[in-house]
């Protein structure tokens, strides 16, 4: 363990990242460029999130990693082990006990509290990217608050599908100013972004951008007056814990078309089962 500097990155790099984070917190939703480092994992595996986590971790922290809500998928396990080895911090799977939570594509079901930091892994930080390929142009659009194009995307959704079919990475407007990509979280999680007690940090390693939401920031999902935003989820109760208001994954369980719906937030589901709640397929 002592072969590495605390949390893998050298102090100068962490300092550089912290400066980007502070700038991000000062301008909520603004994408701050930073000198992303090569990390010992491939791009797309959370190199941005890992660098942000490394920069905010202190030895007293308790660290939790979730991947699509789960603590025991490959991405979560590898990143958790990485920081156990390089930082020696405590790790946990309990949302409430964690001081830093790195997440891929979900916000925990349980309400986060003040003092916690939620770190998102972001593949493509630019919400306008698929509409406007030029970075110089998208920066100008952010600078001049020209966001009409974002609604063109939603318009296309409605004209093609009859409703806004974008179901993840749903664009939001932060404090009435910057349009932001909330990373590929399901739009079910969008309402939790706003007014959250925890600090939310977004790191995109390959794209070299960091952005942030300070606690209790106003975050509004974009929509049309006659097609308002709707936080959708599968219309089922969790098969294991019976929860009806958590976000669920659909799991195919044989090749005869049988399937089950389970909470994507594994910690939330476990806690509910321990408290005596049971779904229809509970063992």
């Amino acid at each position: 363990m002592s072969a590495y500097n605390f949390a893998y990155l050298d102090e100068q790099t962490k300092r550089m990242i912290r400066r980007a984070i502070l700038k991000g917190l000062a301008i909520p939703g603004y994408q701050v460029p930073f000198a992303s480092r090569e990390m010992p994992m491939p791009y797309g595996w959370g190199t941005g999130g890992v660098q942000v986590s490394a920069a905010v971790l202190i030895p007293d922290d308790t660290f939790k990693v979730i991947d699509q809500g789960s603590d025991d998928t490959t991405n979560a396990v590898s990143i958790r082990t990485f920081f156990e080895r390089t930082a020696g911090v405590e790790t946990t799977t309990v949302t409430r006990d964690a001081s830093v939570i790195q997440t891929r594509h979900r916000i925990p079901e349980e309400r986060l509290h003040e003092g916690q930091i939620l770190v998102y892994q972001v593949p493509i930080p630019e919400p306008l990217r698929f509409l406007e390929p030029r970075e110089s142009e998208t920066r100008k659009m952010h600078g001049l608050e020209e966001y009409g194009l974002m609604h063109v995307k939603l318009y296309e959704d409605i004209s093609r599908h009859g409703h806004i079919a974008t179901s993840y990475a749903y664009p939001v407007k932060v404090e009435g100013r910057y349009v932001m990509d909330p990373s590929p979280i399901p739009k079910f999680d969008n309402p939790k972004l706003g007014d959250m007690a925890a600090i939310q940090l977004f790191g995109a390693g390959r794209e070299q951008r960091i952005y942030a939401l300070p606690p209790y920031t106003q975050v509004v999902s974009l929509d049309f007056e006659d097609h308002p935003f709707e936080a959708t989820k599968a219309d089922h109760a969790c098969s294991l814990c019976g929860s009806e208001d958590s976000y669920q994954d659909e799991v195919i369980i044989d090749d005869a078309g049988r399937r089950m719906f389970v909470c994507s937030d594994a910690d939330y589901c476990k806690a509910r089962q321990a408290a005596g709640h049971h779904g229809k397929d509970a063992a």
Partner: protein
């Protein structure tokens, strides 16, 4: 009457080469100005300088804005200029694919400018889009089709609809009929003429096709090597050209 657009001494150089030099004119509301000349004579450079897409080296372009009266668009701030270019100005490109978003439905293309100025009601945007498609003679049933499925003439008409939907007062057109076959050109010109008259638009049309200016333009400027060599009423210049180059241009047209 205040001119809608007043151009004074516009000069643009590319290194030692002259793009256009010392061009001045006034354009009044409802007037259509044609700019003709051979390839490389500086027509497009001049148009781009006026439309704020190029920064001229010298001169000023004064536009009579709705809110604040005459303003020099060369020195105004970029947000203001970009605001103008999606409200009071329209730019019709020669190639429709430069002016359209090819991956987005016809309705989305027409609606983009509406959404850019703050329209947030899907039903209204779609209604306006369908209305405009019909005004440019495109079947409203094709509102959800992509421009890639349209013919060249339809794409050009869609581009015009997309530009006129916010009711601009000044339209810049760069060879609007270039690359279209003659019967489609005739329809497009007919449509443009109708729209210009109905909406009392002012327009600046760059072209090398004299038939286009004959039909559409009230006034004409002939350019050669970056300079205006002759300017006046369209019929006057086309019927009685004075400058040697204008005479050459007029006599080069094939008579069928």
């Amino acid at each position: 009457m205040t001119p809608l657009l007043s151009v004074r001494g516009i000069t643009k150089r590319y290194g030692t080469h002259i793009g256009c030099a010392d061009v001045s004119f006034d354009l009044y509301p409802g007037e259509v100005m044609g700019i003709v000349g051979e390839s490389g004579s500086g027509k497009s450079t001049l148009l781009n300088c006026m439309a704020g897409q190029l920064v001229p080296d010298a001169g000023e372009v004064v536009f009579d804005t709705r809110a604040n009266g005459p303003q020099n668009t060369v020195t105004m701030s970029e947000p203001e200029r970009r605001m103008l270019s999606r409200t009071d100005w329209a730019f019709v490109h020669q190639h429709a694919c430069d002016g359209l978003r090819m991956g987005i439905s016809a309705g989305g293309n027409v609606g983009e400018r509406l959404m850019a100025v703050g329209e947030r009601h899907y039903g209204d945007i779609r209604g306006d889009a369908k209305d405009w498609l019909q005004r440019v003679e495109i079947d409203a049933a094709r509102v959800d089709d992509r421009p890639t499925t349209f013919s060249g003439g339809m794409q050009q008409r869609l581009q015009i609809a997309r530009n006129l939907v916010t009711g601009p007062r000044l339209v810049f057109m760069d060879e609007p009929t270039g690359g279209l076959d003659v019967s489609v050109q005739a329809r497009l010109l007919d449509l443009l003429r109708g729209l210009v008259r109905d909406m009392n638009l002012s327009a600046i049309i760059v072209t090398h096709d004299l038939a286009v200016v004959r039909l559409l333009a009230d006034r004409l400027m002939v350019m050669k090597s970056g300079r205006v060599v002759e300017a006046g009423l369209t019929d006057q210049i086309l019927d009685d050209p004075q400058h040697a180059y204008s005479q050459l241009l007029v006599s080069s047209v094939l008579q069928v």
